[in-house]
Amino acid sequence: MSWLSLPQITFLALSAMALVSGVLVITRRNAIHSVICLIVTLFSVAGIFLLTHAEFLFAVQIILYVGGIMVLFLFVIMLVNLDVAAKQAQFSSHWLVAVLTAGALTAELAYGIYLGRQEFKPSTPPAFILPINNTRGIAVGLFQTYTLPLEIASLLLLVAMVGAVVMAKRKFE
């Protein structure tokens, strides 16, 4: 095995952390421990984004996912009383079938990636790579090329916000 370069070692460390804490997420009895493990996973994924020079996405992942969505999960877990749930059986009775099926899916995916591992290069090399930084590139992409999906996404967020408030409100009869 030839020496791994520092980016490769970093990638292996981050992916090991992501996979291990991913397994911990789905196996913890206490929901708050699952949330903490998911936060670790999200941090590792953000680190992997940073390794691919996608630094804007690294910041967005931490601000939105870790700083927003996970706080929302924690709030709901604290408002909902999970003491009873922690004493019940955690895994459904057909867990073996589920694991085998998912394992078969993964084996197929991994085999497919293994067969095609030499083919992952662009068919035509890029004509030129502009030296603008990642944030500026994403800004051009979001606001000029993909403006319509951006507007639809903002509408989706508005609908989700209104829907969540309506559903979680107490009905004053």
Partner: protein
Amino acid sequence: MIPVSWYLYLGAGLFTIGTIGVLTRRNVIIILMSIELILNAVNINLVAFSQMFHSVDGQVFAIFVITDAAAEAAVGLGLIIALFRNKETVNADEIDLLKW
């Protein structure tokens, strides 16, 4: 240089873990968290290909995936709160009023 296939293996691994979580656990909140794992696996794939093609499209798509994940988590958690208020449980097996 990190080969692109390594990112794809990691994406496949996280996707599997998320799928097992969705199919196996009874606690609805943990099921939602496993869905977030699946979405992160998709994001890793998108960003890996964005680096391979030197294009920013993959990262823009990943931003949209994160946005949708936020919307879906908000709505899902609102549903869980409404559900808990009615039935005092977050166990997916006990929510079976519509079963025949």
